[in-house]
């Protein structure tokens, strides 16, 4: 067949190659961190605070020691190094010693021969607490109504943005306060680790499911008071992450126990512990006031954000900055006055979750855009298109938007996607098509269909001047490319695109991936939709450097100039001559190896008016939700989600669709059912029985179109695709519910997610 140059070689960029770990995962042979077993290993377990705020009067561990099979009991006194850790600020104790600041805070750990023995040992530890009045309302933290609950104070971050004319007003003004509950990442693979001490106790190897091996290592080494080189981390199989594995959970505890006992230690969290033991999406309250001309052109956005960071800082600061810097959404807006607070309270600590502050901002600005449209007499998509931001526009931070910004295209292509052809209840009248599903609670006559839209902008990579980099090594020998990186594969599929990149750049068919560990430089975190760009960029650069060495070698052998050479398929070719040699042949007996540290362009911190080139790049998405609502029972059935997403370039379309569908499921969860319910600092639903997750009966068909406009700033033209799907899907669903209610003659603002049946019934 004639090669037109457009056909895609299997396994290269743009091909929907299958995951290299897929077969092991379907056969149950893929080892997750919780599957790692070792003879002689003992089981660790954690004693946690039952109070949101209390002074520790005494800890008596003597009875735990009396239990047969108990090998170790450790408290704060047993931490040899830094008593605290943290991603950005080391403000979280390894073990609480003087006070506890949230329900679930670790106080002690034990190790025993059986998980049940460990459980009994925990129950035998006697901690005397003097219960204190907790700080639970973020507004009390802002107003200074409560004593500091931490030496660093009760404000984790405060930032304002003032842009343009602060006094500008518009013909049309709409305002509202929007609230979001605390969402859990709810990955399936619970926190788990295996720590193996070195002979002699000088170091430790930790197999752990994490998003960022090197950052874990930095914090672990500091707490253990040993050199980082003595702490080796190996990525255990990761059962999902979504932000919850960016912070330390059991890493330090497991290593402490292993070094103390000089034997391997396993720690696994239960589901309840997992709810308490990792950070969550910040519950938020966001007031917004939008000013527009009578034609619906945005004049000014005003906003006040309050994010409850809970007891410890984690990434609350960066999450807040993301939230406020996205106040305008994907729309041009010349003037802005925005103020945001991230507070410390005695609630569960919050930090990274897919969307990272922008989920909260988007629910507020998209709800506002619908109100603005109504006030201006425009259709929801009309006002969005009219204000759509474009490349070259200035953001409210003063930063010029340099990313490719196909917002108008996203809106137009979304609008072109077919609506569902099934009427309410479906042609077949199957009960599962109705709200309430198998419960058969609903009569189709009481069901009204609504449609809603949401559009979003999301920053990619790290911001605020962080030195964000990723490392990769490529070795080419005997026709095989071998890649090494410390990039956490959490399910997103970096392992498949890494191979595609190498096959494309080097013309090889066989790519081998080395173990993911800290025996190479950091890849940064698998978060912020950054690994396709960052680790993908590092792999691409390393492969290109190896290709240069290869071309030099071939050129020297054949008396050619290396710049003449190129890769065509699996051959090295002379682009101006006739030489054509298979890569497999010319690399026989040769080894070419290069390691690259890849960086994105630098960013800046915001100044006191919130001005600065704070973000690296942006991606955009638009969602349309079609929902059927039983207006009497307040039940919702999402019928279809359509989306058009700016992906730059789809390196693996099947993987991209997987990210889109999975992200939408989490956006649907936040819209309709997911919330960690806290009363007086106590979690009421720390289980999968009580914390509701979307199932196969809740997820509708997803219709997706990819907007492929390769971004010249991105190393492969490809933008990260993980976060955008879960950002504007939530407001689209809520807008659709409002629309359905409106058609039923009911006006409800629905300013809080998740939307509960009671909110719909009113």
């Amino acid at each position: 067949m004639l090669d037109t140059g457009r056909s895609l070689r299997a396994g290269t960029i743009g091909d929907s190659s299958l995951r290299p770990d897929g077969m092991a995962k379907v056969q149950g042979t893929f080892a997750f961190s919780s599957d790692e077993q070792l003879d002689g290993a003992v089981f660790g377990a954690t004693l946690r605070s039952p109070h949101p705020s209390a002074r520790i009067v005494s800890i008596d561990v003597s009875k735990a020691w009396q239990i047969s099979g108990v090998e170790a009991v450790l408290t704060a006194d047993d931490v040899p190094g830094s008593a605290t850790y943290g991603l950005a600020t080391a403000d979280q104790p390894v073990f609480a010693s003087d006070v506890v600041r949230y329900v679930g805070e670790p106080v002690a750990v034990v190790a025993a021969d059986h998980p049940e023995t460990a459980g009994r040992a925990l129950a035998a530890i006697v901690v005397e607490y003097e219960v204190l009045e907790p700080l639970l309302d973020p507004e009390d933290a802002i107003r200074g109504n409560h004593d500091d609950i931490h030496p660093d104070g009760n404000i984790l971050r405060h930032q304002r943005i003032v842009c343009g004319d602060a006094d500008a007003t518009g013909d049309v003004v709409v305002e509202g306060t929007y609230e979001l509950g605390m969402q859990d990442q709810a990955f399936l693979g619970l926190e788990a680790a295996l720590a193996i001490p070195d002979d002699g106790g000088g170091g430790v190897e930790l197999h752990v499911a994490t998003q960022w091996l090197h950052e874990d290592r930095r914090q672990i080494a500091a707490c253990l008071a040993i050199d980082e080189s003595k702490v080796r981390l190996v990525l255990g199989g990761v059962g999902g992450a979504f932000g919850a594995r960016e912070d330390i959970s059991l890493q330090v505890h497991t290593c402490l126990l292993a070094l103390r006992l000089a034997r391997p230690v396993r720690m696994h969290y239960s589901r309840r512990e997992s709810f308490l033991g990792h950070v969550h999406r910040h519950p938020a309250s966001i007031w917004m006031r939008h000013h527009a001309t009578s034609e619906g052109e945005l004049v000014k956005v005003e906003a006040r954000y309050v994010f409850d960071g809970g007891a410890y800082a984690s990434t609350s600061g960066p999450v807040l900055i993301n939230g406020i810097t996205h106040a305008q959404g994907p729309y041009r807006c010349p003037n802005a006055v925005v103020e945001g607070w991230a507070t410390r309270t005695n609630n569960l600590p919050c930090g990274a979750m897919r969307g990272f502050g922008v989920v909260q901002a988007c629910f507020a600005h998209e709800s506002q855009m619908d109100r603005l449209a109504a006030a201006c007499g425009l259709q929801p998509l009309e006002i969005r298109e009219r204000n759509a931001i474009r490349t070259g526009d200035r953001l409210i931070t003063g930063q010029v938007l340099e990313s490719v910004a196909p917002v108008v295209e996203c809106i137009a292509e979304l609008d072109a996607l077919a609506l569902p052809d099934e009427p309410v209840g479906g042609h077949d009248g199957h009960p599962l098509r109705l709200p309430g599903g198998a419960g058969r609670t609903t009569d189709a006559r009481h069901v009204v269909r609504g449609i809603g839209w949401g559009v979003s902008m999301k920053n990619l990579m790290y911001s605020e001047g962080f030195d964000d980099h990723a490392t990769a090594r490529c070795r080419l020998a005997d026709g095989t490319a071998t890649l090494k990186f410390a990039t956490s594969e959490v399910g997103q599929g970096f392992v498949v695109i890494a191979g595609q990149i190498a096959r494309t750049v080097l013309g090889v068919d066989t790519v081998e991936l080395e173990q993911i560990d800290t025996e190479i430089g950091s890849a940064g975190s698998t978060s912020a939709s950054r690994q396709t760009w960052m680790s993908g960029g590092a792999v691409d650069s390393a492969c290109r450097k190896v290709r240069e060495r290869l071309f030099e070698h071939v050129a020297a052998q054949h008396g050619l100039d290396p710049v003449q050479l190129g890769i065509d398929g699996t051959d090295v070719v002379d682009t101006v001559g006739t030489l054509r040699l298979p890569v497999a042949e010319v690399t026989r007996g040769q080894v070419f190896e290069e390691t690259v540290e890849f960086r994105h362009r630098p960013t800046e911190e915001l100044d006191e008016d919130g001005q600065g080139n704070v973000h690296t790049a942006f991606a955009f998405a638009a969602h349309r939700a079609v929902v059927d609502v039983d207006v009497e029972l307040g039940l919702v059935k999402v019928v279809q989600i359509a989306t058009a997403q700016d992906v730059g370039r789809a390196l693996n379309p099947l993987s991209v669709i997987g990210q889109i569908e999975g992200g939408i499921a989490q956006g649907l969860g936040l819209a309709l059912m997911e919330e960690i319910v806290c009363h007086d600092g106590h979690v009421r639903n720390a289980s999968f029985t009580d914390y509701l997750l979307p199932t196969s009966l809740d997820m509708p068909d997803v219709v997706a179109t990819l907007i492929e406009q390769p971004d010249p700033q991105a190393p492969l033209g490809a933008k990260g695709v993980g976060e955008p799907p879960c950002i504007s899907s939530t407001p689209a669903i809520v807008a659709a519910i409002r629309d359905a209610l409106r058609q039923a003659g009911v006006e409800r603002e629905l300013r809080r997610v998740p939307v509960r049946p009671a909110d719909i019934v009113g």
Partner: protein, 170 residues
């Protein structure tokens, strides 16, 4: 109290020594028999990650006491492709992109097999309902539903063809 009993797992009699009587089938499979393909994610029967077959009935192994499973035929994910040859469901999951982190996958494969064994012609509603006890947090279910529907089509097509070819058919 330590117990000693025998389980029939994937066609093989397995001795379980020194078990505590409160240990679940999930715990014994994973920790005592080292069959770690079966996963634990909620340990209260909500997520389906620990799905296995006991006498061909799909159960959450976290809710079954190991000691109550003696004398029954237990099939785990390891038993579905014991010779290393993947099943039609397993192949379809990989091909459809139904696997991301993969933690829910063994349970979903078991649930899909249980469904298709009982109802080879399962349509969309039946598939959605049968898999609704298996939570997946990565995929949003789209590719999983695709994979199972593909197998259902192939199996019902195959059985229809076989029936047409069978000599007794009118």
């Amino acid at each position: 109290m330590a117990e000693h009993f025998e389980l029939h797992v994937n066609g093989v009699a397995r001795d379980v020594h020194d078990a505590w009587s409160g240990e679940s089938l999930l715990y014994v499979l994973r920790e005592r028999l080292h069959l770690t393909g079966t996963k634990g994610a909620c340990e209260e029967g909500e997520c389906g990650s620990c799905s296995v077959l006991v006498d061909d009935v799909l159960v959450c192994s976290c809710l079954v006491l190991a000691g109550s499973s003696t004398g029954r035929a237990i099939t785990t994910i390891e038993g579905m492709s014991a010779d290393g040859e993947p099943t039609d469901v397993q192949r379809a999951f990989v091909a459809a992109g139904a696997v991301q982190c993969g933690f829910c996958t063994p349970g979903l494969v078991m649930a899909a097999h249980a469904l298709l064994a009982a109802d080879p012609d399962a349509g969309e509603h039946e598939i959605r309902e049968a898999l609704s006890g298996n939570v997946c947090r990565c995929t949003g279910y789209g590719r999983i539903l695709d994979a199972v529907a593909t197998v259902a089509r192939a199996r019902s097509g195959a059985s229809a063809t076989a029936a047409e070819d069978s000599p007794g058919r009118e």
